[in-house]
């Protein structure tokens, strides 16, 4: 029988199916961070049990951590307490812990792939919704709640009904300055933030085949923003090349065995999906959001839509624009901005820094802009230095911070002040997401760079033309 990629991976991980209930799903890899794990570890303690498979579990500190002076003790008491809890829990249960200062430290969804923890055909979970990132490798990866973190720690399984399946196909060639982030923001703007709820998405077609692994991670990362449980892309030679030789990737005979499994990981001809959607690459322009959910995005040259033109409640739409202090019909181009944030599990990888550098090279940071450039991990930080990108940043008046989730979620010291506008490469523009009262414009690293040097929303193509002229 023809099967989808998703079916193949899911079905091979079902320990037990419960009639008119969930599947018991075996989890290959469990990533743990400081915020969503302490109550789960407490649960284990109360039951008097240990982590069942510490070798399948990996812990890092990222959400709470400061992104400057990481060698100093963490000032925020509650954060320090949570970090200490994770360190102690990891030690007590023999889990590798890559805390602040560790060479492997970084954002959980950046370090998983970097170290070969993320592999095709695996089931991967983490108490974080952007776990969908790892789907870029053909894994089933999704975010779970703390009760489920406790389930995985204690039994390496969770219980969930199998989601429905959706395929999103995009063929054709991408326009100039259109990055994977724009592709994802485009899809979300078409589907809305609930358009894929209940589904697991497979991305297929030329556009994703041609994308780098970093780009695929950005796309899969944002699957959750259209409500999907997760998103995945069939592994190919690019995927295998990326993984081979990484520390936790299979080696020798184990590699051959894994390859035999991985090579079957594609959707069979004739396999059916519950829903199929297609777009053409030529429809996609560099994107920017203007509202308070990631579905409120549009091509950067467009004007903010009228309430009547958008699906859903006009009252909610108007509340959103009021928060942003924008009006229906406004152009986004030329709007002044205060902050630029490059980083996060969405756009904190080396390719994102290369893109940013390509625009700011030979220019100067605008005086009215505060820029926070935050690598996703120490590995990314190293690459930035090795490739000479750090020099380009410095010459243009930018500083590089230390790895972490930073201004993506306003849980550490990096918060955007109330009323200020931030062009951000992160994943959510919800009210207060980057700080109470902060106003977020989600965009690609290219759009962020163009804003950083001009101090306002600017089409990066204009600056690219000047460079090319």
């Amino acid at each position: 029988m023809s099967k989808t990629l998703f079916d193949k991976v899911w079905d091979s991980h079902v320990v037990q199916h419960i009639e008119n209930g969930p599947d018991v799903l075996f989890i290959d890899r469990h990533l743990v961070h400081e915020v969503t794990s302490p109550v789960a570890f407490l649960g284990l303690k109360n039951r008097g049990i240990k982590v069942l498979y510490p070798e399948r579990t990996f812990a890092t500190a990222d959400h709470n951590t400061p992104t400057i002076n990481q060698h100093l003790p963490v000032k925020d008491k509650l954060s320090a307490n949570q970090l200490k809890a994770l360190e102690e829990n990891s030690k007590a249960h023999n889990i590798p812990y890559w805390g602040l200062g560790h060479e492997k430290n970084g954002i959980v969804h950046v370090i998983g792939p970097e170290n070969g923890i993320t592999v095709p055909g695996a089931t991967i979970v983490c108490g974080d919704s952007h776990t969908s990132t790892h789907g870029a490798f053909g894994a089933i990866a999704f975010g779970i709640g703390t009760s489920e973190v406790e389930m995985v720690l204690s039994t390496q399984c969770i219980m969930q009904p199998k989601p429905k399946s959706m395929r999103i196909n995009i063929d054709g060639e991408l326009n100039r300055a259109v990055t994977p982030k724009d592709v994802a923001l485009f899809i979300i703007s078409k589907l809305t933030t609930s358009g894929a709820t209940g589904y697991f998405v497979e991305y297929s077609g030329e556009v994703f085949r041609n994308m780098s692994m970093e780009g695929r991670m950005t796309v899969c990362n944002l699957s959750i923003e259209m409500g999907a449980r997760g998103g995945m892309i069939a592994p190919d030679q690019k995927t295998f090349n990326y993984i081979q030789g990484l520390e936790y990737a299979p080696k020798g005979e184990a590699w051959n065995k894994a390859m035999a499994y991985w090579e079957q990981l594609h959707t069979d001809e004739g396999a059916s999906f519950d829903k199929e959607i297609s777009f053409n690459a030529s429809e996609i322009e560099p994107m920017i959001t203007y509202g308070t959910n990631p579905g409120m995005g549009m091509g950067i040259q467009k004007d903010i839509p009228q309430a009547e033109a958008v699906e859903g409640g006009a009252a909610t739409y108007k509340k959103s624009l009021e928060y942003m202090a924008f009006n229906e019909g406004d152009a986004m181009i030329g709007k002044p901005i205060d902050f630029v944030f490059l980083g996060s599990c969405t756009n904190g990888r080396i390719e994102d820094f290369r893109a940013f550098a390509s625009i700011i090279k030979g220019r100067r940071k605008a005086d009215n802009v505060t820029a926070w450039l935050v690598p996703g991990s120490h590995r990314v930080e190293e690459a930035i230095k090795e490739e000479g990108i750090l020099d380009i940043l410095h010459e243009a008046g930018f500083e590089l911070r230390e790895p972490g989730c930073s201004a993506c979620l306003a849980m550490n010291d990096d918060k955007i002040p109330a009323g200020k506008y931030a062009v951000s490469t992160s994943n959510r523009n919800f009210e207060g997401r980057q700080g109470p009262g902060a106003r977020t414009l989600l965009a690609s690293p290219l759009v962020a760079a163009a804003a950083a040097v001009t101090g306002k929303v600017t089409d990066p193509r204009e600056l690219m033309e000047l460079q090319e002229a």
């Binding site: 075996f26 779970i144 389930m151 409500g227 909610t316 979620l409 207060g432 009262g437």
Partner: protein, 198 residues
């Protein structure tokens, strides 16, 4: 952690007719720093409920004394965004046992079911009706009947049925949790683990 049993709940309800209520609104990230499951209700809808100087925003529904009850009624796509179970904990800790909406985000729905808060999905028309009836009479009561899988507007008698899978229904009725189930089949899991390719 085993939780309260849920059977039939009769209560007035708190209306929040806003769509796409995300988990950053339900509980902002800066309040996720506890290492125990305590006190999250104080920060439920923190930035909608309180000004930056911690004084209550009088127009927010939780600060309006005419609305109360154990049922929270929200607009479409309730609970989108982050996987933080803290959002469900905050809803529970504040005193809600049931959330009604015409559409729930997946992870939030799961998290609710895992801690004993019942997510009840109704049709958009029925949701509108609930909002209208509450607006006319804030004391109006809803009945959530889990064994029968029905939700009733007691004032008008209007009723709709809602879906929940048999397994989760049993868990909610008895206050069981998934970990107990999983620990009981641990031997099977360990056997399964030996034959996984990765």
């Amino acid at each position: 952690m085993a939780y309260d049993k849920f059977n039939i709940l009769k209560s007035s309800a708190v209306p929040l007719p806003i769509e796409n209520v995300d988990t950053d609104q339900i509980i902002p990230a800066r309040f996720l720093k506890a290492t125990e499951r305590k006190g999250f209700g104080d920060n439920l809808f923190r930035d909608w409920r309180f000004n930056s100087d911690d004084t209550p925003k009088e127009h927010f529904v939780l600060n309006n004394p005419i609305y109360s009850g154990k049922i929270l009624v929200g607009g479409k796509n309730f609970g989108s965004g982050s996987s933080r179970e803290h959002a469900a904990w905050a809803v529970y800790d504040y005193g809600f046992r049931c959330v009604v909406s015409s559409f729930f985000a997946d992870i939030f729905r799961n998290n609710c079911l895992n801690i004993g808060v019942l997510p009840v999905q109704v049709s958009p028309e029925f949701l509108d009706k609930i909002f209208k009836v509450i607006e006319a009479n804030p004391d109006t009561a809803l009945e959530i009947n889990l064994p029968e899988q029905t939700i009733t507007l007691l004032e008008t008698g209007e009723q709709e049925s809602f879906a929940i899978n048999d397994y989760k229904k049993e868990n909610m009725l008895n206050g069981f949790d998934d970990i107990d189930f999983l620990l009981n089949i641990k031997t099977n899991i360990e056997k399964f683990a030996q034959n996984t390719p990765l």
